[in-house]
């Protein structure tokens, strides 16, 4: 099945970083929405489903996407401002109410973590979801680095239509025909330059102007704001300490809940007892899915009560003895297991004689550890449920909230706060279920459920532990490569967990994307084991560990053939000019091939993900048994740019996030439970560990917008591992990297 932009589809589909339950898809024009969708306050006027103006001259853009640091509030406002001819200083954003108009279509097209072989499955699931889930259509979600890709046309269209409406209103005010008026710098002017009205002066004149046809959009060459490094809209509040994150929500009569979860996966409360009576600050003790919560006037008191005044015994989950060593053995035994997916590219050689190069790589489970610990505030009012939370998909939170409270979705309202980091973790609905379980016991009282960092690290949905067995066959040059990759599928698990979709047993799509290299023959066998460990979408999803496997092995192949690793890749990218240009740029800017001091090495890696292509060169200094990443040079081709400052910031962000994992990230299991607990044993890169970074944006003339939130992460681990090899001759095949 081909997914085209002119096709209306209803379906149930999982997206990268998130999910679509049912799928609303339509012409761009239908995404304009109606001004009636917006909450219009006194002194404001709605122009369409995305844009309002206010008497004080502000332009307010509806942004139904999560601002988790990636700059989407700013980027979406820029798209509107560009076509509206607004001044950047007058732009503001607002979280709109739920509507199909705001749903992310792109996440269901390019963000799909399904392998291409599964298009039949998608259709099946679509029908299943459509019938089972009925009213759920589409998904408002932030993930898969899709926000700008999704908004590129609809938000500019919304700005252009708003501008046309203001031209009509100004014409009415001034008596000058609209054709003789233009919009510029937040005003409507005569073509000869005289100002007819500021936007804010037209608030009372637009009310009865009807919807109008979308005018043609500006060509990229005429952009004034888009493509410029404009300041972010969210920064002033963030430096003042005034930005409201989920944990900062304060409602009248609010109480707080601390939670403990069963240590083993799938475990639950067997029994509990309170030592010496409930202290006066504790109002309720509530069993929640997989754990128990104490509710009181203070989170700290509730947490202390669970720690000191409370005894609970747990019923173990299905694998109470599981440990990491056992699991690795299980994965090794699956190298020759039944693949869930086999794919070949090129003509299979008749025989594979000659020499063989083999290697096994490992990547551990990883937690997300966003800085803001997990939380959700819920208020149950009998026939209504209100949720305030940092989340990546209000549609899914609403669905989960409705199911948990036994209400219809119309009775549930979700308020999305700023997110203190998301990284995929905040697409999960577990916090909603817990908060609703607590709120049902406290009708009329808002309950803020907050997890300690220990609960966060021990009860995450982890990046899957994964193993790859790579083989290359040479017979007077390369003749074939073969990869077997083993790992659970977050897509499958998420579908079951979040909305009850049937599992497909197929690998997550990002993990099995085809390599860009022109191998004479490529074969992939992907094995998808079951497992009790919950896995989820971790920034860049399958790309993160797969890039480590693939880009480490191609380095080994280069070494085996006694070629320079950059030149070796380059030669295999003859058919991929964009990839090659990005690789070349990173190498050139990093001074690839120039001399380095002894004990220092450079490593290169390339990965295309989420519509963008990124190459990185890491420079590593090794002393004794330690190493330090001194410098990272990054090149990206993400197609048309909205805000280059944000693109650079996202590349640096992706590098640091990936580097934290490469240097420190390892979740291990013992007795069926996670061993790590806090930043002391699950550390992150700090200022002193952060390399110097330089980001170079490659303009290939591509016209398709690529994502930037995730693509910076995948190349860093292999770039560093390859640099360590260059410096020492030692090949590290497991993450985190340890000499």
């Amino acid at each position: 099945m081909k997914l085209t932009r002119r096709k209306a589809i209803v379906g149930g589909v999982l997206g990268a970083g998130f999910i679509g339950v049912g799928w609303w898809f339509a012409h761009e024009r239908d995404r304009l929405g109606d001004r009636a969708l917006l909450h219009v306050k006194p002194g404001e006027a709605g122009l369409n489903g995305w844009v309002k103006i206010a008497r004080d001259d502000t332009v307010i853009v509806a942004v139904p996407r999560a601002e988790m640091g990636q700059g989407v509030h700013t980027a979406l406002a820029m798209l509107v401002a560009e076509e509206m001819e607004a001044r950047w200083e007058q732009m503001r954003v607002e979280d709109p109410p739920e509507s199909v108009v705001y749903r992310n279509v792109e996440i269901l097209i390019d963000g799909l973590p399904f392998s291409p072989e599964q298009t039949g499955t998608i259709v099946d699931m679509a029908h299943w979801a459509a019938t089972k889930l009925g009213g759920v259509l589409g998904v408002a979600a932030t993930g898969g680095s899709t926000t700008v890709r999704d908004a590129w046309v609809p938000l500019r269209t919304a700005g252009a239509v708003a501008r046309e409406l203001l031209l009509q209103a100004a014409s009415r005010k001034s008596g000058v025909p609209a054709a003789e008026l233009v919009a510029a710098d937040g005003t409507i002017r005569r073509r000869d330059g005289g100002v007819v009205a500021r936007f804010g002066e037209l608030v009372d004149l637009v009310g009865d102007l009807g919807p109008m046809a979308a005018p043609p959009l500006k060509p990229v060459s005429r952009f004034k704001l888009v493509g410029k490094p404009l300041p972010r809209l969210d920064i002033p509040a963030k430096v003042a300490g005034a930005a409201t994150f989920g944990i900062d929500v304060r409602r009248p009569g609010q109480v707080y809940a601390a939670v403990r979860h069963a240590p083993t996966f799938g475990g639950e409360v067997a029994s509990f007892s309170v030592r010496g009576g409930k202290p006066k600050g504790i109002e309720e003790v509530v069993i929640v899915p997989g754990g128990i919560a104490a509710i009181g006037r203070s989170w700290w008191e509730a947490e202390r009560f669970l720690e000191q005044g409370f005894a609970v015994s747990w019923r173990d989950g299905p694998e109470p003895k599981l440990d990491s060593a056992t699991l690795w053995k299980r994965y090794e035994s699956l190298i020759d297991g039944e693949p869930a997916l086999t794919r070949t590219l090129g003509a299979e050689p008749a025989a594979l004689g000659g020499q063989k190069l083999e290697a096994i790589y490992r990547a551990p489970y990883l937690a997300h550890t966003p800085m803001e610990p997990m939380n959700c505030t819920a208020l149950f009012g009998g026939t209504s449920l209100e949720l305030w939370m940092p989340n990546q998909s209000p549609t899914l939170m609403r669905l989960a909230g409705a199911r948990a409270a036994g209400l219809s979705q119309d009775e549930v309202t979700v308020h999305t706060t700023f997110l203190g980091g998301g990284f995929g973790r905040r697409a999960e609905v577990d916090l909603v279920r817990e908060a609703v379980a607590c709120a049902l016991q406290m009708p009329g009282r808002p309950v803020q459920v907050l997890w300690s960092r220990e609960e966060d690290i021990r009860h995450d949905m982890y990046r899957p532990m994964a193993l790859a067995h790579w083989t290359a066959f040479f017979d007077k040059g390369l003749v074939a490569v073969h990869k077997k990759q083993i790992g659970q599928s977050p897509t499958d698990q998420f579908g079951k967990r979040a909305v009850g979709l049937p599992g497909q047993g197929k690998p997550e799509g990002n993990a099995v994307e085809n390599p860009p290299y022109a191998f004479p023959f490529y074969r992939l066998d992907a094995v998808v084991p079951d497992g009790v460990v919950p896995v989820g979408f971790w920034r860049s999803v399958g790309h993160s560990h797969t890039a480590f496997f693939d880009e480490s092995f191609i380095d080994e192949m280069a070494h085996f053939e006694q070629k320079d690793p950059f030149e070796y890749r380059r030669a295999l990218l003859a058919q991929q000019p964009r990839h090659r240009a990005v690789l070349d740029r990173a190498a050139k800017e990093a001074g690839w091939g120039t001399a380095l001091p002894a004990g220092t090495g450079r490593g290169i890696a390339l990965r295309a993900s989420f519509g963008s292509i990124v190459a990185q060169v890491a420079e590593v200094e090794v002393k004794d048994k330690t190493f330090r990443v001194r410098r990272v040079t990054c090149a990206i081709d993400c197609g048309p740019l909205v805000n280059p400052a944000i693109v650079r910031a996202q590349m640096e962000s992706g590098i640091i996030y990936g580097l934290s994992a490469a240097l420190f990230g390892e979740i291990t299991l013992k007795d069926g439970a996670v061993e790590q607990s806090n930043f002391t044993d699950y550390d992150a890169v700090r200022l002193a560990d952060a390399p110097e970074m330089a980001v170079h944006i490659v303009d290939s003339g591509a016209r398709t917008v690529g994502g930037v939130g995730e693509p910076g992460t995948p190349p860093i681990a292999p770039a560093v591992a390859n640099a360590i090899f260059a410096a020492t001759g030692q090949r590290l095949r497991g993450l985190p990297l340890k000499l």
């Binding site: 601002e67 988790m68 640091g69 990636q70 700059g71 300041p231 972010r232 969210d234 920064i235 509040a237 963030k238 430096v239 003042a240 300490g241 005034a242 930005a243 409201t244 994150f245 944990i247 304060r250 707080y256 203070s298 989170w299 700290w300 008191e301 550890t369 966003p370 800085m371 803001e372 610990p373 700023f418 997110l419 203190g420 980091g421 998301g422 990284f423 907050l450 300690s452 960092r453 400052a645 910031a649 640096e652 962000s653 992706g654 590098i655 640091i656 996030y657 580097l659 934290s660 806090n678 930043f679 002391t680 992150a684 890169v685 700090r686 200022l687 002193a688 952060a690 110097e692 970074m693």
Partner: protein, 156 residues
Amino acid sequence: MISLSVNGKWRDVDAPDDKPLLWVLREDLDITGPKFGCGIAACGACTVHVDGEAVRSCSLPAGGAAGKAIVTIEGLGDNSVGGQLHPVQRAWIEEQVPQCGYCQPGFIMATAALLKSKPRPTDQEIDDALTNICRCGTYSALRRAVHRAAALMAGP
């Protein structure tokens, strides 16, 4: 009852002495700029000033701060509209440091304390003083902003 001086105002709080300052600020005084990140003084998101020193408030019993001058991000500069932000906050805006922004109040408070004792810190001194965690990886911009704040505070 604990008497605390927070952002220049005396506040009486009915909380146990051993309740950490962070939670007294957040729950009893509704001052939410200092953030909870780890609870064990490992990440620095909760950093405030106590008598001018940067302190990780998640691990300081409020009783221990009684009578001392506590300053949070809300009281660092004049955050009101048209008010004069602290030079560190201005530098943070000029260098566009925050991404998700959750850890930034802690970094800003730690930086302001650092610059008081070391007006022109070296990179090494910055590394040693700012051991907070930022999961968004804003470190490059953050380092530039520390130097910029130092320059702003030194004056023309």
